[in-house]
């Protein structure tokens, strides 16, 4: 974990809703593993006391990219960053995905929204290629599918309005595909996306007895384990304990997670 100030190398649109921000961060880049995140200080937002967390999307030599969507105050003022501007970054943070796949298992990535970002980084590092299921409300919410294909991955798209891929939730093509494999489906699942999607996947993983590594999105304070803002209930050695998503996570094996009813975080 390091604090590093890096200049903006490039800042481009990705589809209509997302942007890719690439920063020169040699130290953080050289230590980053897929599933980790960076905590970015939005300096134009003078009255902001919190950094903003973003998954690491790509690492290319000294350069580190994130893929983000403008959803609020911080991300909206990030949009004004121009090449050459300096950004202060804390990272790499969190545990990351396992980058080995147990023998005989087949990597299956499941993504919603910005969830493609850490999974893309993972896809570049996994020793075996597999399939990506990616879902969204409409065609414009589906990102990076060409890049995954270019890496040699199969891509399966679902949109709720049917404007791209199958119509419906991403779990539908996923289920169909698992069924098509019959009883000996041995997927190793890696997922990042909205809570509803993650929960649905966890149920399936539990039933199927598969490993599913899911990355949680939780509102964060410090990002380093100091403030206890980002707590998640998990079961460890039969005991329910509280862990910090920023430190022990953001990636958890799905069967350890205790999903709470009425957890206010959507």
């Amino acid at each position: 974990m390091q604090l590093e100030t890096g200049n903006v190398v490039s800042h481009d649109s990705e589809g209509t809703l997302y942007r890719v921000l690439t920063l020169e961060l040699p130290n953080i880049s050289s230590n980053a593993v897929p599933g980790q995140f960076v905590h970015l200080r939005v300096s134009a937002l003078q009255d902001a006391v919190l950094r903003r967390p973003f998954s690491i999307y790509r690492v290319d030599g000294k350069n580190l990219s994130i893929l983000y969507k403008n959803v609020g105050r911080g991300t909206s003022s990030m949009c004004t960053l121009r090449p050459g501007d300096a950004v202060n970054v804390l990272g790499p943070l969190g545990n990351g995905f396992p980058t080995a796949v147990s023998s005989g298992k087949f990597p299956v990535l499941v993504a919603g929204g910005y969830g493609v970002a850490p999974l893309y980084f993972l896809a570049t590092r996994l020793p075996v290629k597999g399939v990506l299921f990616v879902g969204g409300a409409r065609a414009r919410d589906i990102l990076l599918n060409d890049r995954f294909k270019a890496l040699g991955w199969n891509v399966c798209i679902a949109t709720e309005d049917g404007s791209l891929g199958t119509r419906g939730r991403v779990t539908e093509p996923f289920d169909a595909w698992i069924q098509s494999l019959g009883g000996d489906a041995k997927p190793e699942i890696f997922a990042c996306g909205p809570n509803g999607m993650l929960k649905a996947l966890c149920d399936r993983a539990r039933q199927g007895g598969w490993n599913a590594w899911i990355s949680l999105d939780r509102h964060m304070g410090c990002g380093v384990g100091a403030c206890l803002a980002c707590i998640q209930r998990v079961v460890m050695e039969g005991q329910e304990v509280l862990v910090r998503v920023c430190k022990e996570g953001p990636v958890f094996e799905s069967r350890t997670i205790v999903w709470e009813d009425g957890n206010h975080e959507a």
Partner: protein, 304 residues
């Protein structure tokens, strides 16, 4: 001339008067990759209770203009858990360790204090009678003079460690609370804890925090804290540790001029983990520039 930043606070020698505030710096290891702990005046660890405590549901934190509202609810591993897990690490450092403690009753406070008595590496106890996020104890003690006296004197009887009650900001007469602490045996007094506050999501019409209300911290509360420190300094002789909205040496210096012997950096650790280090550097630079040989010369130096 290199100014002397060293202080003796409540009998504890410190390299400088700049600490990190309870609950914003974990138990030490969390920021150790970034911050050289040996450079700090002291580390005040997250609040510790007798037994492990789970704290509140999430969301526990929300950003507001100039600050954040937290309702962590004092989650902690309990006295034993803390001593086992974190004291070995802290003891490897050359920095004063102040343990922030809390309880649901005066007896619990006293019992926690007793457990820390004689634990190697623990330099002082900060008594949190002002947490806005728990039902029993906390702010309810810190806004009641009798309860304040009760807790502080109960703790006083059970420990030889220096004790530093931490005051609540939501009182009309902070001087009275400072005096109550002094009279009950406090060696120093710290102030302020976060300010009771609330944020509502207007789309869902629900409180944003699972705990409904929380405590406001950050730059927003600094001018309020300066006034409270100034009032407390008029009321008591024991040294004060000022907390609230420090983001740079400027705010820390304001606090010292108003009457604080030391300061603690809280929320700013999240924004910029090196804040405390920068405050130390800035304070030194300021003392040089103003030809002030000793940092204590700054304390209570307001010109009226």
């Amino acid at each position: 001339m290199k100014p002397d930043l060293r202080i003796l606070l409540a009998g504890v020698p410190m390299k400088n008067p700049v600490m990190v505030a309870s609950g914003t710096f974990g138990y030490g290891p969390e920021y150790a990759d970034l911050v050289n702990l040996n450079q700090l005046g002291a580390i005040v660890v997250k609040g510790i209770s007798l037994e492990p405590w789970k704290g509140n549901r999430t969301p526990r934190l929300v950003e507001v203009p100039g600050g954040l509202i937290n309702a962590i609810g004092l989650q902690n591993p309990g006295v034993n858990g803390f001593i086992e897990k974190y004291m070995p690490f802290l003891r490897t450092h050359d920095v004063a360790v102040i343990v922030n403690i809390w309880g649901k009753t005066a007896e619990e406070y006293a019992e926690v204090a007793a457990r820390f008595d004689g634990v190697p590496g623990v330099h002082a106890l900060e008594i949190n009678i002002s947490c806005p996020n728990i039902k029993a104890g906390g702010n309810a003690f810190g806004t009641n003079l009798d309860a304040t006296r009760l807790v502080v004197s109960a703790v006083r009887r059970k420990t030889r460690l220096p004790i530093i009650p931490k005051l609540a900001p939501n009182v009309s007469d902070i001087g009275a609370f400072a005096r109550a602490c002094e009279e009950s045996g406090a060696d120093a007094i710290s102030l302020i804890n976060s300010f009771p506050a609330m944020a509502i999501d207007i789309e869902t019409r629900r409180p944003i925090l699972a705990n409904v209300t929380g405590g406001l911290s950050g730059p927003a509360i600094h001018p309020i804290a300066v006034k409270l420190v100034y009032e407390a300094a008029k009321a008591v002789k024991v040294p004060l540790v000022a907390i609230g909205g420090i983001t740079s040496a400027r705010e820390a210096i304001e606090f010292m001029i108003a009457g604080a012997s030391a300061v603690a950096v809280g929320t700013a650790n999240f924004t910029e983990p090196l804040t405390a280090i920068e405050v130390i550097r800035g304070l030194e630079e300021y003392l040089c520039r103003h030809n002030i040989p000793n940092v204590s010369d700054l304390v209570r130096s307001l010109r009226l």
